[in-house]
Amino acid sequence: MSSPEAPEQLYAAREPVFPRRVKGKFRNLKWLIMIVTLGIYYLTPWIRWDRGPELPDQAVLVDLASRRFFFFWIEIWPHEFYFVAGLLIMAGLGLFLFTSALGRVWCGYACPQTVWTDLFILVERWVEGDRNARVRLWNAKWSVNKARLRLTKWVLWALIALATGGAWVFYFTDAPTLLVNLVNGSAHPIAYTTVFILTATTFFFGGIAREQVCIYACPWPRIQAAMMDEDTITIGYRHWRGEPRGKLKKQAVDANQGDCIDCMACVNVCPMGIDIRNGQQMECITCGLCIDACDEMMDKIGKPRGLVDYLALKDEESETQGKPTIPVLKHILRPRTILYTALWSIVGFALVFALFIRSDIDMTVSPVRNPTFIVKSDGTIRNVYEVRLRNKHGEARPFGLALNNGSELNLDVEGSEGTIITVNADEMKNVRVYVEAPAGSEAASSERVPFTFWVTDLTNQERASVDTIFNGRNN
């Protein structure tokens, strides 16, 4: 509770962050992940996949107009949306698993906000120089040189942002066609609007807002905190080794002095602008750059690495008592993470299983019960069924319809001579099907007769069936 005399300021202006360049294994890992993730994002729409003449040849395509999702050899129809639900569940469980084991590893390495911010900072460094040059430029008065550098940076950022926003729309329609249309101005206004909005947000989030998105806007860090425990790997500073910190004096290391030489390397490289030596902080995305920076310094002064390191909370307790370092694997393998892995695998296997057993033939049969049956002039009892057949293939296919109860019940299809139904490529067809029991037959005079519709894809002889009921005269 603050007293009315000195109310606490709830607003704080942003302190600009100028991360210094750093080399090391985590930095290299981050470069690698950036190349892979951005490569996937930018290039995927351009991969071609032949599905025959009637279907799009784009390997990954979200076709909103005809409500299909194409993913290489897989085609997901709207009624198979449970695959998407399953993938989302897997993504959720996967994040639980990674968070409980490795903390905010998603934030530090794979989050698009982190990856694009990293790329934007890289561009900034190419144009304006490393940390010190950037600080100087920030403090300098506006001049031709400052304007030139800023403008160059902003143009490069804008180009990256445009490529990012532009790549998104290619997932929703044929990419080469859309690119031509976008350039010659004939693309749909929605495409331009989407590109514009995503370009603007990329520029703003990656170039201007940066770490503020993680600190103020993103709900995920808050949720993550609830999933971490004392075995979760986070970034820590071995204060029991580093303190009391002191400046390195030539040839004169005070015996009482800890390993930390207060060189600020870990602070200068931090993209979030925090000091990791203050302990675990909400802002920390555990990207590991401070570890690289500190290790570099430790190597220079001939001290062992790992003053700043990936640590779990438990490590502090055991290491201050002089026990040896607990191996990372021991932190990670614990009932909780094993359970998450098991759940994740079960959902994953179930999805793969569902994908393999899903029938290529899709038939639904809805009996028309208005009326329940019809008497024809010769006394034949007729039931009507609405049969929906889906052709998931790239060419028109004939399907043969049959009943298991052939001796008693007869089959007839509205608008066709036989019982063969041709469905156009990648379409669903709705046909009225008549099932008839001759006058005086057992089925005609009974109440309900169960029977089965069989459908055969005449191209590959694959079969599927649906059970339903025939209503007789006594219904």
Binding site: P4, A6, P7, N370, P371, V375, K376, D378, R382, V384
Partner: protein, 310 residues
């Protein structure tokens, strides 16, 4: 929170509940401006859009917006999008409609809507009919089940007194109460049940045969097959018979009964007579509320594909 009151004591409202007092801080500026903005917005909105109620109707609003107009526009847009199909349907050769899969599909969908709005009241939403209202999904037709015949029936109606070209004009099932005695009626009923393959008294039916041939066969035919069969038998079966030739006499030999096939129902038909009427639906007979030529063709296409089409 504002820091404006840092130096001085903050004023309170003077209210105190259990020792809890309430500060009387000014509202934040941004909040006040948003409040003013909402007032300005409110004034603009009531001027721009329909808002103030009057005695008869609300003010129209400067922008002239109306939800009714928007619906009308959307409907007009749909109509415009369908205009080509509707125009094609208006002049289509009904016999060849099924060859144009696209137009036929459009006609069936459109006809389904027309049927539900105009026909289902009597024929039922599943077109199964009811007593006195023929089922349209079976294979028994009184006036012909070809698509052009269905369209003709819808256009001109049955026993439509405004039109000489309406089928069944002047022809009804008369009452035979004055012609047959009670016993004769039973005999004719037995005979009719006999020719339709139902349980009957054979001796009584033999008596009824002569009565049937003398009194009923003129319309129902010697074999009792009805007027449609008679017309089809003697003349070109593909010709459309608008008037005269067809009386609409039912086929008495099949399993389908418009007014019921048991003894009581047949007796009632014989004694009281029957005279079902189908209204005519064309604009000619119901100006302003009739169906357009395209709608009639569409509903004919819909009925034709329900299972009984010939």
């Amino acid at each position: 929170m504002s820091t404006r009151n840092d130096k001085k004591e903050v004023e309170t409202t003077g209210h105190s509940w259990d020792g809890i007092e309430e500060y009387n801080n000014p509202l934040p500026r941004w909040w006040v401006w948003v409040f003013y903005a909402t007032i300005a917005w409110g004034i603009w909105y009531t001027v721009a859009y329909p808002a103030w109620p009057g005695l008869k109707e609300a003010t129209a609003g400067y922008l002239g917006f109306s939800t009714r107009a928007r619906v009308a526009n959307e409907m007009a847009a749909v109509d415009a999008a369908n205009a080509d199909m509707v125009a094609a349907l208006e002049t289509v050769d009904l016999a060849a409609l099924k060859d144009d899969e696209n137009l036929h599909g459009f006609a069936v969908n459109m006809g389904s809507a027309v049927f539900k709005a105009n026909c289902s009241q009597c024929h039922g939403s599943g077109a199964a009919g009811a007593k006195g209202y023929p089922a349209l999904i079976d294979d028994d037709w009184i006036w012909g089940g070809r698509i052009d015949e269905i369209a003709y029936t819808v256009t001109n109606g049955i026993r439509n007194e405004q039109s000489f070209s309406a089928r069944g004009y002047g022809g009804v099932m008369p009452s035979f109460a004055d012609v047959f005695s009670g016993e004769e009626t039973s005999a004719v009923v037995a005979y009719v049940r006999g020719i339709s393959g139902q349980e009957h008294d054979a001796a009584l039916a033999a008596e009824g045969e002569t009565l049937f041939l003398d009194n009923c066969a003129s319309c129902h035919g010697d074999a009792g097959m009805g007027s449609l069969a008679a017309t089809r038998e003697y003349e070109d079966p593909t010709a459309l018979y608008p008037d005269g030739e067809m009386t609409g006499a039912l086929n008495l030999t099949d399993a389908i009964w418009l007014y019921g096939g048991d003894e009581a129902a047949i007796t009632e038909t014989l004694v009281k007579g029957r005279a079902g009427v189908m209204p005519a639906w064309s604009e000619e007979f119901r100006p302003g509320s009739g169906l357009s030529a395209a709608e009639i063709n569409a509903v004919a296409a819909y009925v034709h594909q329900l299972g009984g089409g010939q």
